[in-house]
C-alpha cells in the first residue's frame, strides 16, 4: 500500500510539474492528468495530506486556469457542496480548490486577493453548510447513496474539520440557524435539518455559548418540557399527562410556550399536550399558545371554534401550526366576525380528489388526520404568520407574495380562494373585465411546483401561478412592463395604479434612472413625500446580486413599511418570499433580519441601499411630493451603486 502511494505521489508530482512548465494557452492539456492523479491520492488520508502540502503551487501551476475556480475570491460557499457531490471532474477540482483555500487560511500560501481570515471564514461557512458531509448520516439510504466521490468529499471534510476549529464552525452554524429561525418561516424543514446535523457538534470541543444555543434548538424540536424529557415516547407522555396535577400542567404549558416563542419551533410533545388540555384543561391554552390580551380576548369569544380547530388540525405532524394558532389569535383574526364562517366552512368542505392527493402524505392518513385537518393547519399558519409564507424551491415569488398580502389585508378573499381551490380545483380572477379560470389555462411561470410548501400554498400556488402567467401574456404587446396592469388586478385593490420601471421595454436598457430614483423618494421617503404613509405592502421588483454585486436575477419582494430605526435612520422593512433574506448583496449591502427593529419575517435595509437594487414599484400619483426637491446627491449615490453592480449587465441609455 505504501508503495502504491509513493507511486501515486510521483505521478502527481510529474503531472503538476508538467503543468507548471506549460504555457498558459496549453494548460488545459495538462490539467486532466493532474486531476486524475489527484483522484488517486485523495482516496486516502495520507494522499490527501500530500495534496495539501502541494496546494500552494496550484494557482501558480495553472490547476484552475480557464475554469470557474480560477479566481478564489469569486468562490461561493453555497456552491461547494453541490460540486463535490457531482460525479464528474468538477468534484476533484473543487476538492483541490478547498485545499488551496485551506493553505491560504493556515498561512502556508499568500494570496493577493484573499486574506487568511477570509479564507478561514469561507471554509467555516462551507463546513457549516455541508454538515451532512462532515457528519455523514448513518442511515441505510445514505449508505447506498455513496460513491467514491462522496467518500472523497467526506474525507476532505474530516481533514478540513481537523485543520479548522470546530468552534468557529459551530459559531457559523448557530448564526445560520439563528438567522433562519428569527424570520419565523412557516416551513421549518430546513432549520430542523440543520439542527439535526448540528447535534453531532455538541460532542466536539466547542464553546459553551454555542453548545447551549445548539442544545436549546435541539430541545425545542424534541423535549422542551420537564415531563417530555422524562417520557420521550409520545404514547407514554400522553398517558402520564392524565396523572399530572394542575400546577404541573401549567409548568408544562409554560415550558412549551417559552421554547416555542424563543425559537419559533414546536415539538411533537407540544402538540400532544395541546390536544390533551384542549379537552381537559382548556384554560391553559392561553399559556400554551402564549396569547396576549388580544389573543386571549379572541380566544374567549370563540372557545368552541378554537377547540374544534385544535381537534381537527393540530397533530404532532402539524405541530408548527400551534405557533401559527397563537399568532393568529394575537393578530385578532378571530375578532373579525365575518371571517368565522369562512374558517368554519373549511371543517367539512368537500375537497377535490386531486387536491386531497396533493395534501395528504401516507403518515397523515395512518395517524387519523384528514385532508381538511391538513388544509386547516396550513390556513392557521398562513393567517398567523403572513410573513412566514415562502415560495420554497419554486420560481413563484409572485404567488407567495399574494398569499402573504391577502393574509394581512384580504383575509376574506384568501379564505374564499382557499375554499374554491380545495373544493373545485379552480379559481378565477378577473383581468380587465375578462374572467380567467386557472383550470382552463395551460402552463405557469413554474413548469412544475415543488411540493415542499405549506398546505395553503400547495393548494393555491398552482392556480395563482397560472393565472398570473396568463395575465402577463395578455400584456405582452403593450410596449410597457405588464406588471403595471397585472399587479393591481392580480393582488387586488390594495395596489396603487401608478407604476415605474427602470428598464425600457423596447430597448431593454436602463432609461431615466435619475427620475426613477427621484420618483421613489418623492412617493415613499417621509422627508420628501408630504408625509403620506404607506398603507398596504407595496410589491416591488428588485435585482438580486451576489456578494460581489454581480446580477443573479430578478426577484419580487414587498415593502411592508418605511420607518426610522433606533438610530434615527430611515429603513425599508420588506417581506422576501424566499424566507432567506439575510443574504449578502455585495457593496456592503446586507439586509438584516433582526437588530434594526424588524418584525418577525421582515428584513430591512437603509432606504438608500434598498433603492439601489430596485427596478420597479407602484405608487399613488395623488400622493407624491416634488421630484426636484430630492437632493441630487441622493440620486447620484444610488446611481453609482446601481452602475457598479447590476447595472454592469445593462446598457444605460
Amino acid at each position: 500500500m505504501s508503495g502504491t502511494i509513493e507511486l501515486y505521489k510521483q505521478k502527481f508530482e510529474n503531472a503538476l510539474h508538467a503543468l507548471e512548465q506549460a504555457k498558459p494557452f496549453a494548460k488545459s492539456m495538462y490539467q486532466t492528468n493532474v486531476f486524475q492523479t489527484a483522484i488517486d491520492l485523495a482516496a486516502n488520508e495520507q494522499g490527501l495530506h500530500f495534496l495539501y502540502e502541494q496546494a500552494s503551487r496550484f494557482d501558480g501551476a495553472g490547476v484552475f486556469n480557464g475554469g470557474p475556480w480560477e479566481d478564489p475570491s469569486k468562490m461561493q460557499p453555497p456552491l461547494v457542496g453541490g460540486s463535490l457531490k457531482l460525479k464528474g471532474v468538477n468534484s476533484i477540482v473543487e476538492l483541490l480548490s478547498e485545499l488551496r483555500i485551506l493553505a491560504i487560511a493556515k498561512g502556508d500560501y499568500d494570496h493577493e486577493a484573499i486574506s487568511p481570515e477570509e479564507a478561514r471564514s469561507f471554509l467555516n461557512e462551507v463546513l457549516a453548510l455541508n454538515l451532512d458531509l462532515l457528519f455523514p448520516p448513518e442511515t441505510e439510504e445514505a449508505r447506498l447513496d455513496t460513491g467514491e466521490h462522496i467518500e472523497r468529499a467526506q474525507r476532505l471534510f474530516r481533514f478540513l474539520g481537523d485543520e479548522l476549529s470546530f468552534n468557529a464552525i459551530a459559531g457559523k452554524i448557530v448564526s445560520e440557524i439563528d438567522r433562519l429561525a428569527v424570520q419565523r418561516p412557516i416551513m421549518t424543514n430546513r432549520i430542523e435539518k440543520m439542527i439535526q446535523m448540528a447535534r453531532h457538534m455538541m460532542e466536539a470541543d466547542i464553546d459553551e455559548n454555542q453548545k447551549s444555543a445548539l442544545a436549546g434548538y435541539t430541545r425545542a424540536l424534541t423535549f422542551p418540557s420537564p415531563l417530555s424529557r422524562e417520557y420521550q415516547s409520545l404514547r407514554d407522555y400522553r398517558i402520564k399527562l392524565k396523572d399530572l396535577a394542575s400546577e404541573d400542567l401549567k409548568k408544562e404549558a409554560e415550558a412549551f410556550a417559552e421554547s416555542m416563542i424563543s425559537t419559533g419551533l414546536v415539538s411533537p410533545h407540544h402538540a400532544v399536550f395541546v390536544r390533551f388540555i384542549n379537552r381537559a384543561e382548556a384554560d391553559l391554552l392561553t399559556i400554551a399558545l402564549e396569547l396576549d390580551e388580544t389573543g386571549t380576548a379572541g380566544y374567549n369569544a370563540n372557545r368552541e371554534l378554537v377547540r374544534d380547530l385544535i381537534q381537527i388540525s393540530i397533530w404532532p405532524e402539524t405541530r408548527q401550526s400551534i405557533y401559527g394558532l397563537g399568532r393568529m389569535l394575537n393578530r385578532g383574526v378571530l375578532t373579525q366576525d365575518h371571517l368565522l364562517p369562512s374558517i368554519r366552512r373549511l371543517f367539512e368542505l368537500n375537497i377535490h380528489p386531486d387536491v386531497k392527493k396533493a395534501l395528504m402524505k401516507p403518515e397523515f392518513e395512518q395517524n387519523g388526520m384528514t385532508a381538511n385537518g391538513v388544509l386547516l393547519a396550513g390556513t392557521i399558519s398562513v393567517l398567523g404568520q403572513p410573513l412566514g409564507v415562502g415560495q420554497g424551491l419554486n420560481p413563484t415569488c409572485q404567488s407567495a407574495r399574494a398569499i402573504s398580502l391577502w393574509s394581512q389585508h384580504g383575509t376574506g378573499q384568501l379564505l374564499e380562494y382557499i375554499a374554491r381551490a380545495a373544493r373545485d380545483n379552480d379559481i378565477d380572477i378577473t383581468f380587465e373585465g375578462e374572467t380567467i379560470h386557472s383550470s382552463s389555462v395551460e402552463g405557469g411561470v413554474a413548469d412544475e411546483i415543488h411540493q415542499e410548501l405549506d398546505s395553503v400554498s400547495v393548494v393555491l400556488v398552482p392556480h395563482l401561478d397560472k393565472i398570473y402567467n396568463e395575465m402577463m401574456k395578455k400584456t405582452l404587446l403593450r410596449g410597457e412592463d405588464g406588471h403595471k396592469w397585472v399587479n393591481p388586478e392580480f393582488y387586488g385593490e390594495w395596489i396603487p395604479k401608478g407604476f415605474s420601471n427602470v428598464i425600457d421595454p423596447l430597448t431593454l436598457g436602463v432609461k431615466n434612472y435619475g427620475s426613477f430614483v427621484r420618483l421613489f423618494y418623492a412617493t415613499h421617503h417621509p422627508d420628501f413625500n408630504e408625509g403620506y404613509e404607506l398603507i398596504y405592502p407595496n410589491p416591488v421588483g428588485i435585482f438580486i446580486t451576489n456578494v460581489h454585486g454581480k446580477l443573479l436575477g430578478l426577484h419580487a419582494v414587498s415593502i411592508q413599511r418605511i420607518e426610522k430605526d433606533q438610530a434615527g435612520e430611515y429603513r425599508i422593512y420588506f417581506y422576501n418570499p424566499n424566507n432567506d433574506s439575510g443574504q449578502n448583496w455585495g457593496q456592503g449591502i446586507e439586509p438584516s433580519v433582526q437588530g434594526n427593529g424588524e418584525a418577525e419575517g421582515e428584513s430591512s435595509l437603509p432606504f438608500q441601499e434598498f433603492v439601489s437594487r430596485m427596478y420597479a414599484f407602484h405608487y399613488n400619483p395623488y400622493e407624491q411630493g416634488e421630484l426636484f426637491l430630492v437632493d441630487d446627491s441622493l440620486v447620484e449615490e444610488a446611481e453609482q451603486l446601481a452602475k457598479d453592480s447590476w447595472g454592469k449587465d445593462y446598457t444605460w441609455l
Partner: protein
C-alpha cells in the same frame, strides 16, 4: 522572432500543434474556427478566423490574409483542412498542381484509382451512388469468390469518400445491412474485405524523401495501437519502406506527413488501404513522442517547410526503431452502457508497471451518445513498457473490460 522571417500557418485549431510550433521558436499563425479568437487574443497567438466547412469562393481572401502575414507554407492538422492547405500552398509556392494533388487525398475513390495505376496493390473497389450499387457490389464480389447459395458472404466495406479514418465506416455482410444506409451516405467508396495484420505508417517527407518512417501496429482497428511496431512486424520494414516510397512518388508528395494504412495478408503481400496527409487519430503522435522522444507535431511542421535544412532534419530525427526507449500504446475506451453511472478503473490496472495514465471521467452528460461507425471514444488509457507482447496482451485484456458502468 525576427519580423521578417516567413511564417508557418497551422490549418485547424489544435493546442498540441500550437504548443509544438511555439516550442520550435519559429513564427507561426493559426487558422481556425472564429470561436477561438478570444482565447487566441488572450494568449497572444496570431490567429486568423476561418470557417473551413463552408466551401466558398472567398478562399482568395484567406490567401491574401496569410500572404500579408508573411506566411510561406500551410500545414493541415485535420482531414477537412487538407485541400485548403493544397489550395493555399499552390498559391504560396506558385505551383497549381499542389492543389490537385491534395484533392487525390480527399477523395478515396480517386486515391485508390491513383494507387492502382501506380502498381500499388489494392483490393477491389468501386464508387457507389445508390443502394443498388452496393447490392450489386456485394453480390459480384462474392460471386467472384465462388460462393454458392447458403455460404456465408465475405464482407465488403463502405466508407465516405472524404472523411477521416473510421468515421462513417460500415462493414456489410448481408443485404439487409445495406438497407440501413441513409441517402446522405452516398456517394461512397466500396471495397472488398482484406484479412490480415493491419498497421499504419507515419512517414515524414521532406523534399520528396522519407526522413523518418514510423510503423504503428494496430491491435484492433479503432480501439488500440502501439508504437513502434513489434519485432515481427518491423521485420517487414524494408518492404514497407519501398511501398511508402512508391506511394510518395505516385502521389507526388514533397513536403509534410502522410499516414497510410496497410494490411499484410497471410501470403506476405502488402495491401494498400488508404492514405491521409494530416495528423493521424488514435493518439499516434503522442505515442511517437513517448517512444522516440521527439514531437511528431514539430516533425510535421519541419517537414512541411521547404526551407528546413538537411542538417536540421538530421539533428531532429533519431534513428528509427532502435532509438525507441520502449513501446507506447493507447487503448480507446467506448462505454458499453447507455447511461454512465460509475467509473470503474481497477486497482490492478492502475498499479500495473506498464500503466501510464488515463483520462476517463464520468461525463457531465451521463447519457452515452449513439455511436455512428466507430464513433468517438470517451477516454483513453496509455501504456508504456519494454515488451511488445505484454503491451499487446494488456490492450486485449482491457479492451474487454467495462470501465463505464
Amino acid at each position: 522572432m525576427g519580423t521578417n522571417e516567413k511564417r508557418i500557418a497551422l490549418l485547424g485549431w489544435s493546442l498540441q500543434a500550437i504548443e509544438a510550433a511555439d516550442k520550435l521558436n519559429k513564427p507561426f499563425v493559426v487558422v481556425g474556427p472564429p470561436d477561438y479568437q478570444e482565447f487566441a487574443d488572450k494568449n497572444e497567438i496570431t490567429f486568423v478566423p476561418w470557417k473551413f466547412e463552408r466551401i466558398n469562393e472567398k478562399s482568395d481572401e484567406l490567401y491574401r490574409q496569410l500572404d500579408s502575414l508573411n506566411v510561406k507554407t500551410a500545414v493541415p492538422i485535420y482531414e477537412e483542412t487538407v485541400e485548403w492547405a493544397g489550395a493555399l500552398n499552390a498559391r504560396l509556392m506558385n505551383d497549381p498542381r499542389i492543389f490537385n494533388r491534395s484533392l487525390l487525398l480527399r477523395d478515396k475513390g480517386l486515391m485508390k484509382r491513383k494507387a492502382q495505376m501506380a502498381g500499388i496493390r489494392v483490393g477491389v473497389f468501386e464508387e457507389a451512388y445508390s443502394k443498388e450499387d452496393v447490392h450489386r457490389f456485394l453480390k459480384r464480389v462474392n460471386e467472384a469468390l465462388i460462393k454458392i447459395d447458403g455460404d456465408l458472404n465475405d464482407p465488403i466495406h463502405v466508407k465516405p469518400l472524404n472523411k477521416a479514418g473510421a468515421v462513417g465506416h460500415r462493414m456489410i455482410t448481408e443485404s439487409r445491412e445495406i438497407d440501413e444506409m441513409e441517402d446522405q451516405e452516398f456517394p461512397c467508396l466500396m471495397e472488398s474485405h482484406l484479412d490480415g495484420q493491419e498497421f499504419s505508417c507515419e512517414a515524414f517527407i521532406h523534399d520528396g524523401k522519407v526522413q523518418f518512417l514510423n510503423i504503428t501496429e494496430y491491435v484492433q482497428l479503432g480501439h488500440s495501437n502501439f508504437v513502434p511496431a513489434s519485432p515481427s512486424l518491423e521485420e517487414w520494414r524494408p518492404m514497407i519502406k519501398d511501398e511508402i516510397e512508391k506511394l510518395v512518388d505516385a502521389f507526388e508528395i514533397k513536403y509534410g506527413v502522410i499516414h497510410p494504412e496497410y494490411f499484410i495478408s497471410a501470403d506476405g503481400k502488402l495491401h494498400f488501404g488508404e492514405v491521409a496527409a494530416r495528423v493521424p487519430g488514435g493518439h499516434i503522435f503522442e505515442l511517437i513522442e513517448k517512444a522516440y522522444g521527439f514531437s511528431a507535431f514539430q516533425a510535421q511542421i519541419l517537414c512541411s517547410d521547404p526551407d528546413t535544412t538537411e542538417e536540421e532534419l538530421r539533428a531532429f530525427f533519431p534513428e528509427e526503431v532502435t532509438s525507441a526507449i520502449g513501446y507506447a500504446a493507447s487503448l480507446m475506451v467506448y462505454p458499453k452502457v447507455n447511461v454512465i453511472e460509475k467509473l470503474n478503473v481497477p486497482e490492478k490496472l492502475k498499479n500495473d508497471p506498464y500503466f501510464e495514465k488515463h483520462d476517463m471521467f464520468i461525463p457531465v452528460n451521463s447519457k452515452v451518445a449513439e455511436r455512428v461507425g466507430f464513433g468517438n471514444h470517451y477516454g483513453t488509457i496509455f501504456f508504456f513498457g519494454d515488451d511488445s507482447e505484454r503491451i499487446r496482451s494488456l490492450l486485449k485484456e482491457y479492451q474487454e473490460y467495462d470501465f463505464y458502468l
